[in-house]
């Protein structure tokens, strides 16, 4: 067991896989000489050389399509998006290319590609650099979407994603890159499609992914002091979603709150609500609530930005609502 930062865990995952399989290459902007815009690929150019760690021009559609084409004929590329905001430029190749190639070709051309990079907001990066777009990718059949929250999850899931023969959208987070956590030694592969119960409880189910897991855990810690026992579940893979774990938890607690960074309309949480109301209808003691980002482009001003994303108070309020509970005095 070692203590690694989230970015070190990703670095290790890529290195281990690239050592194991020579068909894996990494390409993206600044991944080589610059050691990665967020230093995730630090030292990899030195280890693997310029044919395997490729600095690309700023040409997202081009290099994503290149990745898809190469994956069709025997390579296993990892395409880094400097941030997933820029993936919008590559959407045609992700959706019309990667996601559909296997189906359109009648099963002949799988696309074993990983597209990875940070998503969601950081601090005051403003409207075009702060988007949480995972629901866009979740919408497309043929793609898998993974969003780890801890270093151990990051390493285990990235290794599995690289070994998966399907196109995987692997969304990390800038604000999590520096977080530390225990990472087991060895091939600690984590299967896709399996959620993780980050905190066990019995009074209410909180479902959160990526950085929102920590908002949920903070809220849970506060609520514990008030005698509310919160269960926090991190789906880890958004598509395919681990419905069984989520439903089992709600059947136990009878109530759920979903915490997500993205915009509310047609967000990931909306899909989770649908799953829960369908499969756990008779177990629900309250409507399922969502705590989401505000339905606005992200503002620059610090105070406005703070209002635009969920915080632990929002989460606590929602939990109190589903528990029909008056909060302890002092809270709103």
């Amino acid at each position: 067991m070692s203590i690694l930062t989230y970015r070190e865990a990703l670095n290790q995952a890529m290195r281990e896989e690239m050592r194991r399989d020579e068909t894996i290459v990494l390409m993206g902007e600044e991944v080589g000489f610059y050691h990665g815009a967020y230093k995730v690929s630090k030292g990899m150019l030195e280890e693997f050389g310029p044919m395997r760690v490729l600095d690309t021009p700023i040409t997202e559609l081009g290099f994503t399509g290149l990745g898809v084409g190469a994956a069709m004929v025997g390579l296993r590329p990892i395409v880094e998006m400097m941030t997933f905001n820029f993936a919008l430029l590559a959407l045609d190749q992700i959706v019309n290319g990667a996601a559909k190639m296997l189906y359109m070709s009648g099963g002949q051309f799988p696309v074993p590609l990983v597209i990875r990079g940070p998503g969601g907001a950081a601090h005051q990066l403003a409207a075009q650099h702060s988007q949480a777009l995972e629901s866009w990718f979740c919408h497309v059949p043929g793609l898998k979407v993974v969003m780890p929250s801890t270093p151990a999850d990051a390493k285990g899931l990235l290794k599995t994603a690289i070994r998966d023969d399907n196109p995987v959208i692997f969304i990390e987070s800038e604000v999590l890159y520096g977080t530390r956590g225990e990472v087991p030694e060895g091939e600690c592969l984590i299967p896709l499609g399996v959620a993780d119960i980050k905190r066990r409880g019995k009074d209410v189910t909180l479902i959160a992914h990526s950085k929102m897991v920590f908002v949920a855990l903070e809220a849970a810690a506060d609520l514990e002091r008030e005698g509310v026992d919160v269960e926090v579940i991190d789906p880890r893979t958004l598509r395919p979603l681990d419905t069984v774990t989520l439903v089992q938890s709600v059947k136990k607690t009878n109530r759920a709150v979903i915490v997500e960074e993205g915009w509310p309309f047609c967000g990931v949480g909306a899909q989770i609500v649908d799953v829960l109301q369908f499969r756990a209808f008779d177990y629900l003691d309250a409507p399922i609530l969502r705590v989401t980002g505000a339905d606005v482009p992200t503002p620059y001003a610090k105070n406005l930005e703070h209002l635009a994303f969920p915080d632990k108070q929002h989460v606590k309020d929602a939990v109190n609502k589903v528990l029909y509970r008056r909060p302890v005095s002092g809270d709103k």
């Binding site: 084409g69 994956a71 070709s105 009648g106 051309f109 399907n166």
Partner: protein, 354 residues
């Protein structure tokens, strides 16, 4: 094997291959005399197969047996036939949605191609792709793509993989002239030249992007010149002359295989039908007389005439050939007709591996 030269901008590649007069002007007949007779007959046969197949596809479309979009290659046969005749079986081909001809030349079974157009399970993509998504892994035919320019980055990727895996493969990427204005074209050519990849970009300039002539869409009409922006070797060729196409592509293939460098080739051609079965052959965007005039340059007609002139073939040969082709096409249709539709559960297969 050289790694990509970051920031390199040498011009020596361009010098290998430039100028509007290249290849030297020769007639089709002159080229034919110097070419292997068996190959000539093969080229004619292949063009005729495409022609008859596409005519039959048009017929089936009007009968409702082919649905959706159907883009015919009639008039442009010389480009696919001439170009692909320079490839090895292991080389990769990517094309647009007007790819029936390319698929047939590559050796894909006409019955299976027809079945795919008719949406049957025996089709090359199990009926799930359709006219615009013909694929054949064994023959390295990487599709069949419906988004304009979508295949260009893919071709660069295939070329990258070949270079990476140290395979002597070349990748051909066919696209229309309207694709040279889309972003993916520029990004792809830049990457191919920057990283020195073994890909040949073949722009089939049939002068019309659906209903828009090239002059209304492109700030530069001499399309092959666009390669200059990427320091890439380039040329244009008369796309109605199958042997001229073949000659030019042979050089490009050699450059790709030996120097691992890309080429942009503009093949100037013409389509006699509309953009697709839903579009008119002539109308607002071009006159009937223009189309009829262009038929004089029909590549099959001109090659036939040339081969007759050099006494390689006669009318009896042509009749037999035509009959043989018609039989092949009829059998393809019969095969497609008697094939079943895909099973309902195929709706949910091939979305994910495993």
């Amino acid at each position: 094997m050289q790694p990509s030269d970051v920031g390199s901008n040498t011009a020596n590649l361009t010098e290998l291959f430039c100028g509007p007069d290249h290849p030297p002007a020769q007639t089709l007949e002159e080229r034919a005399r110097r070419e292997d007779p068996a190959l000539l007959k093969t080229l004619l046969e292949q063009m005729l197969l495409i022609r008859r197949f596409e005519e039959k596809a048009a017929e089936l479309y009007t009968l409702g047996k082919i649905g959706g979009f159907c883009h015919l290659y009639i008039g442009q046969e010389a480009v696919a036939v001439g170009a692909i005749s320079t490839l090895e079986p292991d080389d990769y081909i990517l094309a647009s949605y007007r790819e029936h001809g390319h698929a047939l030349v590559r050796g894909m079974d006409p019955g299976e191609v027809m079945a795919e157009l008719c949406g049957k399970q025996s089709g090359v993509s199990k009926g799930k792709g359709g006219s615009m998504h013909l694929f054949d892994k064994r023959r390295h035919f990487l599709g069949g793509h419906a988004i304009v320019g979508g295949q260009i980055p893919l071709a660069v990727g295939a070329a990258f993989a070949s270079k990476y895996l140290k395979q002597p493969r070349v990748t051909f990427c066919f696209f229309g002239e309207a694709a040279v204005n889309i972003g993916s074209f520029h990004e792809s050519l830049n990457l191919a030249a920057l990283w020195k990849l073994p890909v040949v970009f073949i722009c089939e300039n049939n002068r019309f992007g659906m209903g828009t002539p090239i002059e209304r869409a492109s700030s530069l009409y001499d399309l092959s010149q666009k390669a200059c922006a990427y320091n890439m070797a380039r040329t244009w060729v008369d796309g109605m002359d199958v042997l001229a196409v073949r000659e030019v592509l042979k050089e490009a293939v050699e450059r790709a295989r030996k120097a691992s460098a890309p080429t942009l080739i503009e093949a100037r051609t013409y389509r006699f039908m509309g953009h697709s079965m839903s579009d008119p052959a002539h109308g607002h965007y071009r006159t009937k007389s223009e189309v009829e005039e262009q038929r004089h340059h029909d590549p099959i007609k001109t090659l036939t005439a040339a081969l007759e002139t050099i006494a390689l073939i006669d009318s009896e040969f042509l009749e037999e050939l035509d009959q043989k082709i018609r039989d092949i096409v009829e059998e393809a249709v019969a095969f497609a007709e008697r094939s079943p539709e895909p099973e309902p559960q195929e709706l949910y297969t091939d979305i994910y591996v495993g």
